[in-house]
Amino acid sequence: MSAARLSPGRLGLRLFGCLVGLWLIAPTLVVVPMSLTDEKSFRFPPTGWSTHWYSEFFSDPLWGEALVHSLVIATVVAVIATILGTAAAFAIVRGRFPGKAVANTLLISPMVVPVVIIAIGMYIVELEWHLVGTYLGFFLAHTVIALPFVLITVSASLRTFDRRLEHAAATLGSGPLSTFFRVTLPGIRSGVFAGALFAFIVSFDEVVISTFLVSTNLRTLPVQMFSSLTQEQNPTVAVASTLMFVVTTVLLVVIAIVMRGRDRAR
């Protein structure tokens, strides 16, 4: 459709669309130049440039350790959530049992209930179980909220998977386990992989529940950012923001490539 044939109404709509697109993406990008400022303030745009805050980020144990904690927690959560979520997707898509709809709703609900409510509940029980400030406490809490994303992504893959391939493998003498690992899993792997990456992002970015679960020895990056922001104007938080933005964007691009590859293979 050439621009000349567009009616004024359509042209206006397109302009508006561009503005909304900008509104969605552009504000976030200010953190990148902000991280390169040479003063200790949030003045924007910066008047001079330096990489001082990057060396600050990587040399200050508070920030460095927070980054490591977040990476460890997000990786473990991605693994657990992917295993549990994929298994649950098989139950929901292929299982036949009474109360399946209820079970599905229950598994999805951590995504819908306001996270502040989940945080209060988890804080109360994790205090009782002495899990506050422990890795285990984070693994469990983040897995619960990451699980729905794996379940939804893998279920979608599983619904489009052709089960005759499994029957064919069985007919040819393949055992149940080898059928699963050689036929089923490769067939749904893009969904599983995307689910794992989503779970990683959910955990890596989680801040509300984490503010309740942290201790002085175990902080995550978003919590460190939150407390830094509420205490002082320190541009190190801009470095952390830039890193988080880059990590999420790279993971999303990987997900998009994996999903497109799947579509092409079909």
């Binding site: 359509r10 669309g17 509104w23 953190v31 139950a91 299982g95 079970a103 306001p114 509940g121 922001l229």
Partner: protein, 302 residues
């Protein structure tokens, strides 16, 4: 009789087919670990929290009955004020999100494949970008000597003081929650058959009239679903009001966190969270009902 025999034959043959797949058809067992996790770390905590709201009292509320925490909540002028402020903010955020999202989602149904991919990409990138990062970005932009105020100043307009106010939190939430409005709206609009518009026009309706009488009513389910979702999310938002707002202009969730984290008043916090939870579930139930009715009527392809 023959039906029964046929039925039995099918039943008998099924295990044979299923036997080839990994679990001999016992797929439901695979859901157990995830369900146990959700029951122990999601349902049980919520139940415990609700329980605390009925039996965990501060000294001032002891001996006032099981509903003392709820009576405290609704009896305090400050709490009711915060509740009002939160509801008004949520309404404003929902209205703005809807006004911005509808044209955008509508445009998504009109453009070519490539442009649509770019538009979807923008929505998803925004959706998945870290909450902390987006809130921080808004703090930079909206601060008193920030970019927005610099631009307003150079245009000769009065400067805005929005950081620390409900308006600041609302501006941030409008952008952060936009994807939650666009995605359900687009899912709805995509299913509307545009040939209905041509049909209306061939019967003599002017384009704008045809759009308003035919297209707009069909988009109501998407509008309702998206609006309820955004409204509910605004009610429960914590991080954005905490960073862009302030304790003096607190939102509902900030009040809950203060009670639990600072004052360790689990009963009061639990009661407030329970109020929020009930409101959320009611509104989401409405959204689900509207979406399902639209589907069963068959006006919207899914």
């Amino acid at each position: 009789m023959t039906d029964v025999i046929a039925d039995n034959a099918v039943k008998r043959s099924r295990p044979g087919i299923r036997g080839g797949s990994a679990l001999r058809g016992r797929y439901e067992l695979l859901g157990i670990p995830a369900l146990v996790l959700v029951l122990v770390l999601f349902v049980y905590p919520l139940v415990t929290m609700l329980g605390k709201s009925f039996d965990d009292f501060l000294v001032t509320e002891q001996g006032h009955g099981v509903f003392a925490n709820y009576q405290w909540f609704f009896g305090q002028h400050v709490n009711v004020l915060v509740l009002q402020r939160t509801l008004v903010t949520a309404l404003a955020v929902t209205a703005i999100c809807l006004a911005v999202s509808y044209p955008f989602a509508y445009l998504m149904t009109l453009v070519g494949e490539r442009t649509r991919l770019v538009m979807t990409g923008a929505v998803l990138l925004s959706f998945w970008t870290s909450l902390m990062v987006r809130n921080y970005a808004w703090l930079i932009l909206l601060q008193d000597n920030g970019v927005v105020n610099r631009i307003l100043g150079s245009l000769g307009l009065p400067r805005l003081h929005v950081i620390g106010t409900a308006a600041g939190a609302a501006i941030g939430m409008c952008q952060i929650l936009l994807p939650f409005m666009i995605l359900p709206l687009y899912a709805n609009l995509r299913g509307i058959d545009r040939r209905l518009l041509q049909a209306a026009q061939s019967l003599g309706a002017r384009p704008a009239v045809a759009w308003w009488l035919v297209y707009a009513p069909l988009s109501v389910p998407g509008v309702v679903a998206g609006s309820l979702l955004v409204f509910v999310m605004t009610l429960g938002f914590y991080i954005t009001p905490a960073i862009l707002g302030s304790p003096t202009n607190a939102m509902f969730s900030q009040l809950i966190v203060t009670q639990v984290q600072t004052l360790l008043a689990f009963g009061r916090g639990g009661a407030m969270a329970a109020v929020l939870l009930v409101a959320t579930l009611l509104l989401l139930g409405c959204a689900a009902l509207v979406t399902r009715r639209a589907r069963s009527r068959g006006v919207v392809a899914t």
